[in-house]
């Protein structure tokens, strides 16, 4: 049963990722990304990381994907003539396909070789706790307090930077 669910989510994640790669329609790609992220969230649940799965859904599906779709909708199409036949087409062609393909396939093979030969420290251990939220909260407030605080500075820097870059100071 568990194995079947695992394969289902894995297929969901990988299949929609391949679809993103092949489709020419930007909107379809955005929706396929949604399915892919849901698949990954399902895999997180299966490995006992419930909090991570919820965060994944909230941040990526709730935030980033909506942003992407708004981005597509608000971007002007450069060429108005073929609007009706091909909405949201990706107009650019990929170049240097041979080297790109060689590089990605070799990276893929290296990573596959690494992961199949790897001995994970935590593999094979049964998942004991029902939920990880309590542990996460306690750890964030005790042993990982400094990263937690410093992440606040990172967010502040990003906020100031975004506000600064978005500020329109044209004389008119």
């Amino acid at each position: 049963m568990e194995l079947a669910v695992f394969y289902f989510f894995a297929f969901l994640a990988l299949g929609s990722a391949v679809f993103i790669l092949l489709t020419k329609n930007l909107m379809y790609a955005a929706f396929a990304l949604f399915l892919s992220l849901v698949g990954v969230a399902g895999l997180f649940v299966l490995s006992g990381a419930d909090f991570l799965a919820i965060t994944q859904l909230m941040v990526y599906v709730g935030g980033i994907l909506v942003l992407i779709i708004f981005g597509i909708m608000l971007t002007r199409t450069p060429d108005k003539t073929d609007d009706s036949q091909s909405a949201n087409r990706i107009l650019l062609n990929s170049r240097r396909r041979f080297w790109g393909l060689t590089l990605s396939i070799s990276l893929f093979l290296v990573l596959i070789a690494t992961i199949t030969q790897a001995t994970f420290r935590l593999s094979g251990m049964p998942i004991k706790s029902r939920s990880t939220i309590k542990t996460l909260g306690v750890e964030l407030m005790t042993s990982h307090l400094l990263p937690f605080e410093i992440a606040g500075i990172l967010l502040l820097v990003a906020l100031i930077g975004a506000a600064y870059l978005a500020l329109n100071r044209s004389p008119s």
């Binding site: 420290r121 990263p147 990172l154 820097v157 100031i160 930077g161 600064y164």
Partner: protein
Amino acid sequence: MYPIVLLSVLGIVVLYLGFLKSKSILLPATLLFLVVAMIGNFFEWNDGELLYFKGMFAVNKLTLTFNAIVLFSAFMIVAMTQGFQDNEEAQPAEYFALMLFSLVGAFMMIGFENLIMLFLGVEILSVAMYVLTGSDKRNLRSNEAALKYFLMGAFATGIMLFGIALLYGASGSFSLNGIESFVTLNQRSPSYLLYAGLLLVLIGMLFKVSAAPFHFWTPDVYDGAPSIFTAFMATIVKTAGFAALFRLLSHSFSGIYDFWWPTLSILTVLTLLVGNIIAVYQDSFKRMLAYSSISHAGYLLIALTSMTKQTENAILFYSMAYSFATICAFGVLIPVAREKSLEGRPNESYEAFNGLAKNNPLLAFVLTVSMLSLAGIPLTAGFWGKFFVFSSAVERELVWMIIVAVLMSAVGIYYYFRVIMAAYMKEGDTATIRIAPFYKIVLIAATLLTILFGLAPGLFEAAM
């Protein structure tokens, strides 16, 4: 630890100071805050080895010295900004706050004891740099540079994060000590996961310090960014990046030296060749400085590859000498380029320096000393930097690497002397450039320090 807390709080104070009507208080306030952080930095000087927050962050004499170099460079660069007085649209509060926060990131990279801290430090520094690169919003090249830097930097960060995840998968720990004990326990039976993780983290970090073949963003970004932030990027990001690399390799991964030194040595030689040879063909002084920063990353990598007892000292001294000389070079470039501006944009080509020495002897002298130091001519700090780097490589018997490095230093002399020739020998008329007194003091101080450490490099070790 004090400078981190101080600068985090004082950065917010700077933001609030931006509400005041008069912007002229911001520059002195920021300089004062940097001095306060510098004093706070030395509070822990005599405390030996300290660990903070359950082994998240370490403080020792080495990290404090790196902090001091970074703070001093930042002080000089902030002093050269002139408070952006000539630009009525500028928002100095944001610039200064971002600079102070980015220093927090640099301190995190210098003293991290846990890979999470390394990641956060790299991110804080990078995000601040992306914004500062694009701060000249009217300039298309600045916009292009910011976007390029952001996209490539995001990829590099992703690769580094993947590497950290693999390291965690292999060793079950994020802390440097945990990884170190795993490495020493499993020295006989190598874990491929650990190797792959280390390589990916190295790629991410080498991108940040612009070592070949991860250098391709450097020329465009350094060229497009406003000069003052290019100086910031070329000195502080590089110093912090090499401090982080040294910490990672000397601390956690010294047990598998045999694995990473061949990889790193190939990249070192590649960086030296790419940086120096392409720099020869540049017509823009600023772009040449970008390639020169790549080549200096190569020299620092030599020290890292040899990883002997001298390495620590060599990296410290080299990054200090390089920072001072680079700040001087940009400090001369900014007023000269503004004086000679073409079509409203600063002229950063070699021609702008023609005949500089006639009416501006001080600027020409500062430029000469900084170029001599970057080229590694004796009696400047740069010479001793290269000397320490080479001697650590000699100890490891990496002779072929030194041969490449010496050849490339000879190539370097050609392009560094081109601008000196332009300033002294070429015909040209540059009116006397008016420089603010404080700016002048910074230039003179950095030049004097370059000469002082060139005459007596032992002073630096004595201070340690």
